[in-house]
């Protein structure tokens, strides 16, 4: 499987913002926060098709997300994930003495994961419980 070193950027989208106000169980929210926005050229390099699954791994964890062609390209070797429980699984907890974890520009490796599935919110919460 091809792999690519990227930087992870987490942030707000209007869909995520709308979704969080409609409820964290709403379809609008859940559909948006599991998306991994990838530069079209990087999609080609990774031989990814729209809405196929990808695994993103950082030094702090890994998570399976749905690959989508970024509407805000070009941003080569940089992926964008909306704020939410899935992005938090791979974010950097180190705060460098400021209290603020590093939620933008996290080095990561991305690879196609056709045989793995995106966990549901309940499964993700259960995973945290298991790790506790």
């Amino acid at each position: 499987m091809p792999k690519l070193d990227v930087l992870v950027l987490t942030g707000r989208t209007i869909e995520q913002g709308k979704g969080k106000e409609m409820g964290k169980l709403s379809k609008v929210y859940l559909d948006d926060v599991v998306q991994c926005n990838i530069d079209p050229q990087d999609m080609k390099t990774l031989k990814l098709k729209q809405n196929t699954n990808v695994k993103v791994t950082t030094n702090f964890g890994s998570v399976v997300l749905k690959a989508v062609k970024s509407p805000r390209a070009p941003h080569p070797k940089m992926i964008f994930i909306s704020y939410g429980p899935w992005a938090s699984m791979i974010s950097d907890p180190r705060t460098n003495g400021t209290g603020m974890p590093s939620l933008k520009g996290i080095p990561a490796e991305i690879e196609p994961a056709p045989n793995e599935r995106v966990l549901s919110l309940q499964e993700l919460v259960n995973q945290l419980k298991m790790e506790a």
Partner: protein, 479 residues
């Protein structure tokens, strides 16, 4: 049917105060003037809510009375050695004040969501100060708007319409006409491209005319908008000029601009991926505006450099004030995150990450901040109010929230309430309960009660008051 005007929107830091709500039978059926996020809240706030208090018994959440839930919450806080009380940005200043009293009573660490938003900005403001103004002043007078690492189109959807590029001020007008004509140009090019593809049966690439340096539109005598970001966001599409910087290089770019603004020279070809000639033109533009404003977002606070990025941005603003008038403002996220900093400071002397465990306030972000305390697994109980840290904190912190007793005061079902041992659902502040909140420019505005809450839901302030009373009773009994 009732029409309620002048309602404040309890969603983002722009805290719009011109919302009109149509109410029928105690239900909001229409939200006029609201953005996508505001309308989503007003029309759907009740869709996934919890109405009755819940306690986890044998692994299952079961409905209990308010008294039982309050007693359980109070007991968790009294039994804990080092409880963390986190959240606060989505509730009223009145509730925050009561929460601080409770935190003092149980010796808690009090932290709010600015710890994972503009906490680094606050550290910088404490270091170097901040030249700022109210949004009304900027609406009327600012002729150069800079959104730096901020995407209001998605995070503060009406910010541009009410205060910057699309607002009509007394001295500076809206630029929506030039935006529309630019948009028409883009659409025409796309149409030509599509038609050419059909006729020629091959990919026709329309080559836009590339301008050297800054586009001519930024030199026009009108309000101009510049966006500086690592991605071309939707805000960038609407701006006159967009600079795409390499990730993690904002600090270099800010310092380079400081050098140029102070008439220095840089012996490099480019900084942060931007040619030095373009940066020189940008520095000229900054110096020659009448009143400029930098709105900065989490792209500066969450990336490499953190508070040092903000130091550089504020210092650039200070340097620019030697040549013209320039201001700077953080784009605060939650509607009352500014208010929580203010109330925390009134009551304890510090705006966030306040440790009250010694009986007096201690402030040392990095040590007394929520993510650090949780990552080190120091808190033996957590109370979360008006926030969802399990969804937004890094995994290393969230898993330790799950490890110890967790109280959630939240009306909605969230990843945090899914892990909670006690859930007390309050009334929605700004819809079912009134109060006060602070807009991002430190202007206090009232939150209105527009519909009645369910009978089982009290306001955040009442719930906290009850827990405080019960804590005092329990401690009295123990002594």
């Amino acid at each position: 049917m009732a029409v309620i005007t002048g309602v404040t929107c309890p969603v983002c830091g722009t805290f719009c105060d011109d919302i009109e709500l149509i109410i029928e039978n105690n239900v909001i059926v229409e939200a006029r003037n609201a953005c996508a996020m505001g309308a989503a809240k007003f029309l759907n706030y009740s869709a996934h809510r919890t109405k009755k208090p819940l306690i986890r018994k044998n692994g299952e959440l079961v409905e209990v009375s308010m008294d039982e839930a309050v007693e359980k919450a109070a007991k968790i806080l009294v039994d804990a050695n080092y409880p963390l009380m986190y959240g606060w940005s989505n509730t009223s200043c009145e509730a925050i004040r009561t929460g601080l009293e409770l935190g003092e009573e149980v010796g808690a660490v009090m932290d709010n969501t600015s710890t994972v938003c503009h906490g680094p900005s606050i550290l910088s403001v404490q270091d170097v100060g901040i030249p700022s103004a109210t949004l009304g002043q900027l609406r009327h007078r600012a002729d150069l708007i800079i959104y730096w690492a901020s995407n209001p189109w998605s995070a503060h959807p009406r910010h541009a319409e009410r205060y910057t590029m699309f607002s009509d001020g007394r001295f500076e007008g809206s630029t929506w006409k030039s935006y529309l004509s630019r948009l028409r140009g883009v659409m025409s090019r796309k149409k030509i491209q599509r038609a050419s593809n059909l006729v020629l049966k091959q990919d026709f690439c329309f080559t836009p005319q590339v301008e050297e340096g800054l586009p001519s539109s930024v030199h026009q005598k009108r309000r101009r908008t510049i966006v500086i970001d690592v991605r071309k966001t939707r805000t960038a599409d609407a701006a006159d000029c967009f600079f795409q910087v390499e990730p993690g290089t904002d600090y270099e770019l800010l310092q380079a601009l400081r050098v140029l603004v102070n008439d220095g020279e840089l012996d490099v070809d480019e900084v942060a991926g931007i040619p030095i000639e373009t940066l020189e033109q940008l520095a000229d533009l900054l110096v020659n505006c009448k009143l400029g404003i930098i709105f900065f977002g989490l792209g500066l606070t969450m990336s490499k450099g953190k508070h040092r990025n903000i130091d550089a941005a504020i210092n650039l603003t200070r340097d620019l004030n030697k040549r013209t008038k320039f201001l700077i403002m953080p784009m605060r996220g939650h509607y009352n995150v500014t208010g929580v900093n203010i109330v925390f400071t009134w009551q304890t002397g510090y705006p966030f990450a306040v440790d009250l465990s010694n009986g007096y306030p201690r402030y040392n972000p990095g040590e007394t901040s929520a993510v650090d305390i949780l990552s080190r697994d120091e808190a033996d109980a957590t109370m979360v109010i008006a926030s969802d840290p399990v969804a937004h904190f890094p995994r290393a912190a969230s898993k330790n929230i799950a490890k110890h007793p967790l109280i959630a005061i939240d009306p909605e079902v969230t990843p945090t309430t899914m892990l909670a041992d006690v859930i007390i659902p309050p009334a929605f502040v700004g819809i079912e309960a009134e109060g006060t909140a602070y807009r991002m420019d430190h202007v206090p505005l009232p939150l209105k009660k527009v519909v009645e809450p369910p009978e089982t839901c009290l306001s955040d302030q009442e719930i906290l008051q009850r827990i405080l009373q019960k804590v005092r009773e329990l401690r009295r009994d123990m002594n």
